[in-house]
Symmetry: C2
Subunit: 379 residues, 2 copies
């Protein structure tokens, strides 16, 4: 018998009531039954994204919505500022390059705190930049970026959009689009939304729609204006991932019932307990400004981070994540996203202790869970 615990930064655990909803007989998308689902989903997505504008729904991975945030807003040869401080910052630049965008990259060492002043300087030096592309939290390094402050700066540039990949941010921390001045906010189903992967989201401001009107990159599947027009009639441009949207209705309801402030507080406390648990056994947190979504923990001297991640998975039944690209072997990651509670974190910290004991690391056994439990008393 091996019960398995999924604590990866996406996909995440799915509540049983959501799994069961998605297992109901299929319904057709071009009829009122489905339209009622979409209508409810639209309202709850607006609430979650903190916007009065439509939040578009795409049947794709989150990357599909990231691509659309370039192809629906810019034209070949346009300049854009990209914050690159992890795998997903690099993805913005890769997509930009694929579509002929002149990317001005703010290259920050992975895991560093992002100084909003760097964005301000880049904007001053590149007044023609049509957009700033960044992350709310960078999943590869477990770093929180100062979205509110950056949005506050970009807001003063009428010719520049503030685009945030919130794939591991939406539903984890507040990202109120309209209040902060985020023009495009991207989300994905398999993170805090507690669903399987296969849906992506984009909240889009009025300012962004004006950019869309003059954007000249060709597009078809990810045609945002057509998607918006369909959504207003509770429909989608093409056959959507119906079962996931049916599940989305349920998971948005669960988030709403808990209350978004409580959801954010829970993620924050779970991440803090993960960090304190790790620190109590002498481990270092990789990021200088840790994310509430996912915690990147440095492998101790002499122990391979991939071995930790693999032992956690194979022997101790906890699925976290390893390091990606330049961080491979140096870190391992555990998420506190979505359908995760205090016992998940205690489980994860216990599994880390078991794993590190196996791998020959010396530490006061039990100190990790003790620290985690202490942090979690009031959750």
């Amino acid at each position: 018998m091996q019960k398995r615990y999924l604590l990866a930064p996406g996909p995440t655990q799915i509540p049983p009531e959501v799994l069961l909803k998605m297992a109901e007989p299929m319904i057709h998308h071009r009829n009122p039954l489905f339209e009622t689902v979409v209508e409810e989903v639209r309202e709850n997505l607006k609430h979650l994204f903190g916007t009065v504008n439509e939040v578009l729904i795409f049947s794709s991975s989150g990357t599909g919505a990231m691509e659309g945030a370039i192809t629906n807003m810019l034209s070949p040869g346009d300049a854009a500022i990209v914050v690159r401080s992890g795998k997903f910052g690099e993805r913005w630049a890769e997509i930009g390059r694929a579509y002929g965008i002149r990317c001005v990259n703010i290259d920050l060492p992975w895991g560093d705190t992002l100084d909003p002043g760097l964005v301000e300087r880049a904007l001053k030096e590149n007044p023609d930049a049509k957009a700033v592309y960044t992350q709310a939290t960078e999943t590869s390094t477990g770093t929180l970026f100062p979205t509110k402050e950056i949005a506050g700066i970009v807001r003063n540039y009428p010719g520049t959009l503030m685009v945030v990949d919130g794939i591991t941010g939406v539903g984890v921390l507040p990202l109120p689009m309209d209040e902060w001045g985020i023009d495009i906010l991207i989300g994905g189903s398999q993170k805090a939304l507690m669903l399987p992967p296969g849906l992506a989201f984009a909240g889009v401001s009025e300012k962004a729609w004006a950019f869309n009107k003059v954007s000249k990159i060709p597009r078809f599947y990810f045609n945002w204006a057509k998607e918006r027009d369909n959504l207003r009639a509770n429909q989608t441009n093409f056959t959507p991932a119906i079962s996931l949207i049916v599940g989305l209705r349920e998971s948005l309801k669960i988030l709403k019932e808990e209350g978004l402030d409580n959801v954010y507080r829970r993620s924050e406390m779970l991440a803090r307990a993960t960090r304190e648990g790790a620190k109590a056994i002498g481990l270092e947190i990789f990021s200088k400004n840790p994310s509430p979504a996912v915690t990147a923990i440095c492998a101790p001297e002499g122990i391979d981070g991939q071995a930790i991640y693999k032992t956690l998975w194979k022997k101790y039944a906890v699925t976290g994540a390893g390091g990606q690209d330049q961080l491979k072997g140096r870190i391992f990651r555990l998420a506190t996203l979505g359908y995760a509670d205090k016992y998940d974190v205690i489980t994860a910290v216990a599994a880390i202790e078991f794993t590190l004991a196996d791998l020959g690391y010396e530490f006061p056994m039990g100190a990790g869970v003790a620290a985690a439990v202490t942090c979690l008393k009031d959750l």
Copy 2:
């Protein structure tokens, strides 16, 4: 109490064992558990598509794979021949237009039989055409196209690819890619594959991969070469729609167990019984060369096709489809795709009888189901 019967040309019914598989706890995609699933799926997709080459898997609607069959193969300004004889033929042309392709359209009245000679002539008149884009069966009109014959013609043109939208063809009728010379064959999850929408497929020939090497349309999310490289390692380029792929493993197993020849025979017989049932109560079949996937039935004189479709759905619990675009109000459609058996067809024909009696059409009540039952005795 109203039991509902889904007989639309996508989404289609999902076998309960597939629904339950998809309701199992989520697994992570970057680990051996998922890779075992992909390995099995790859083999069974090759079998279904009749090819030794990889069949790519995309987390998108079928249209995403159609787009990729243009953006990964052609360059702006290239010429392509498009068979336009329904909504989905028009979609090829729309995608081509969006990406700067010079589409040479073979415009055939909707529902007509496609003479392969028309394709041959178009190829002779446009020797620079880089591809022929067509459908195996045109869902909007319920028409079967002569894929084998067209592929046999295109095969003689080394500079031209044969691209088939088989979204309502794969798993319904034989479309052996390698044997017939189909270069790209597109499929979708929500049709004969008995899954929710959200996955698309593309079998790709060696000839097509050579076109891919010189193709210059920008792409990122639908980058086929990267997807192929990942697939060879039982992986996907981006986070895939995991639950659908887990379901796909199950549905491919079901198809394999029935045996593809039996599956094709079943679809053919179910479609024939639907046609005979309709004809027995005086209705006309819209298509001159009917598809085994979906039957388009003409609304009788003086009765609105949309009223038939809506009454079928609302009062008689059978979800079919209405007519699209120019056929709206003129036809209604019932599918015999995927998880459909003889009782589904008898149910559908009975519901048509109930509906038409309601709408004031005069006919010998019961004659439709009698004809259908007679056709289905040996299935």
